[in-house]
Symmetry: C2
DNA sequence: TATATTTACTTAACCGATTAAGTTATTTCC
DNA sequence: GGAAATAACTTAATCGGTTAAGTAAATATA
């Protein structure tokens, strides 16, 4: 039960705790022979330093927080993989906080970080986040360096790792238009998120470049409840002037679209074409296979963590105005082009 | 930068730090009027206790660890959701450790827990784990209560939350046999994991009950590398006496099977039928839709966390010999029955 | 009225490590 | 040979809380 402490090592070797501590940290104040003895004993007694004693004294926890809406989403789970790969290499621990798209939770979580629990924060905003005081407060108080990934906060000027959302929205829409779509609906989960608005801008630009007027009726905002999203989508696809193309900006909405199409006997891609932002590895196996905008999720996580650790390794490193934009890829499959 | 501490509150109110601490913890030693004053000031100054000071003194971190092979897997990501939902309610923090199926990592991670970083551990073994000293050591030293979920360790007698793996293996195999399969291959990732052997036992029992001899050649062990798994599966499906039924015990292998079938022009379910352990929400949208054994992933995570917190809340609570078995469900779809 | 108890605190030790500021003994240098 | 520098430690303060033990005043009890 009781773990080996520095005090026990000190008693055993007739040294002060200070000497042990310094020996373990390879201080020049300690002779090589003593260091040897300390190291040997520490190994033999299986000494593991108390995680919190050092954190308290040094005001450093070797822990980062990842704040994100959801894990059960291939983009975020891959991003976590990327983050974890860097954190592990650096010997850091990773705390996970799920907001489940709740702004209140996001606020509570950030507030808790004032406890000094984490040295750095990686964050992707909730779909609800429309006010940024909690983020400003965090930054103003200089609590911990913050790096946004994917769902970044334009109102903050800390580091942001993102994909080319405008271009992605543009590419996807252009592709749908070129496949013959005249009425393209955009499924979104937020009118606050900058990724949403950028994707939407890309969409609008593509329409404009192809002389299709933008009609706000084609903007469809879904919520957090899977069932009502399904019913909503189904209702829209059931209408007389239903869309003939769908751009789903969120992976989870695609399932609903497929199900609704199936139930309404709408043929994909003949009656309706679909492009979805998705990292689903089974995208190519769907019926029909799904045309996706696929983000480099793992790389985004990795890049975000890498930038964060630059700041943690060197206090002078400035996160401000850092923007990394990684390209997404349009992968054309059967939901837009038959026979693919 | 410098956070509000108890010392600052004490100075402000002309009280000792002890009084503040006790007031904040609503001790009977402090008068109501003083408590009021302390609480009011703490609120006003936005006092957030240092996360590590209390943890050090009280030897309690309000943090649990989740040790698992992978997040980019719908079972595990849903389980994390379940765990997080309980942890959040209890005011605990969740550290995530990914083993990526590496035994060495699992050992290192467990060893680190001797630092007292976490109050409790939720764990799912790696596919490689065949030795259990690291787990015994953890338990012997009484470092933190440990609850296994899904990939449990039979050699330990701490709490285990699992699904009915034998029955699932049985049901899946029986279904394949009833669909006409004569030669059913089992895709597995481990011959160590108890879930694997239980599923396999169920498979064998089903064969026996239907008078089909068990042939070890139908046992196919895949590794951790996606590409070589694919090539391996493809090779097997290319052979003359290829299987006519596949039971994939791991979600990620299913994609490979579908791809291999497509490349080899094997028709599912006509030429080959597939059942997979999977929590993929898109299972019904695959081409053909996938017959699955679906585990109650969220509930498993939730149950595991609930049991762990029982032990954390009441030290006398015995985790030993606790076994909760939640039922999985066979969902018949198009990969075994055409037209589904 | 004297003693016991309760109330509402304060003091000081403590959790386990880190580190600034000493303290010797030894070596270096002029 | 004596001052200065260096090596190899120790002492004690510190991080920010928690808590056992102590204390003084107020109240209760005999």
């Amino acid at each position: 039960m009781d773990n080996v402490t520095i005090k026990m090592l000190a008693k055993e070797l007739n040294l002060s705790t200070a000497a042990i501590s310094k020996a373990l940290r390879d201080s020049h104040e300690i002779s090589d022979s003593t260091k040897q003895r300390v190291l040997e004993l520490a190994n033999r007694m299986n000494y593991i330093p108390n995680a919190y004693a050092g954190s308290l004294r040094r005001r450093k926890s070797n822990t980062i927080a990842v704040v994100l809406p959801e894990v059960a989403d291939s983009f975020f789970s891959l991003a976590i993989n990327g983050i974890e790969s860097v954190a592990r290499e650096k010997g850091y621990h990773v705390l996970i906080y799920l907001t489940h798209e709740s702004f209140k939770r996001e606020q509570d979580i950030l507030k808790e970080f004032q406890s000094g629990r984490v040295d750095g924060i990686l964050m992707s905003l909730t779909a609800e986040t429309a006010s940024y005081q909690h983020i400003c407060a965090l930054e103003a108080k200089n609590i911990a360096p913050l790096v946004f990934f994917d769902r970044v906060c334009d109102e903050s000027n800390t580091a942001k790792i993102m994909t080319d959302d405008f271009e992605s929205g543009y590419k996807a829409t252009k592709h749908l238009i070129e496949c013959g779509c005249k009425k393209i609906a955009v499924l979104s989960i937020s009118n606050y998120l900058s990724i949403s608005s950028k994707r939407l801008e890309g969409y609008k630009q593509a329409l404009q470049d192809h002389s299709i007027p933008f009609d706000p009726i084609n903007l469809i905002y879904c919520g957090n409840d899977a069932d009502s999203n399904y019913r909503f989508i189904r209702k829209i696809l059931h209408e007389k002037d239903r869309p003939d193309g769908i751009l789903a900006t969120v992976e989870k909405l695609t399932t609903k679209v497929y199900l609704a199409c199936r139930e309404l006997s709408l043929r994909i891609p003949d009656d309706i074409k679909i492009v979805s932002f998705s990292n689903l590895s089974a995208a190519s196996l769907l019926n029909p296979s799904l045309t996706t905008i696929t983000q480099p999720a793992f790389e985004i996580g990795k890049a975000a963590a890498t930038v964060l650790f630059k700041s943690l390794d060197k206090k002078s490193f400035q996160l401000e105005n850092i923007r990394e934009v990684l390209p997404s890829e349009l992968i054309v499959r059967g939901s837009t082009v038959s026979g693919q």
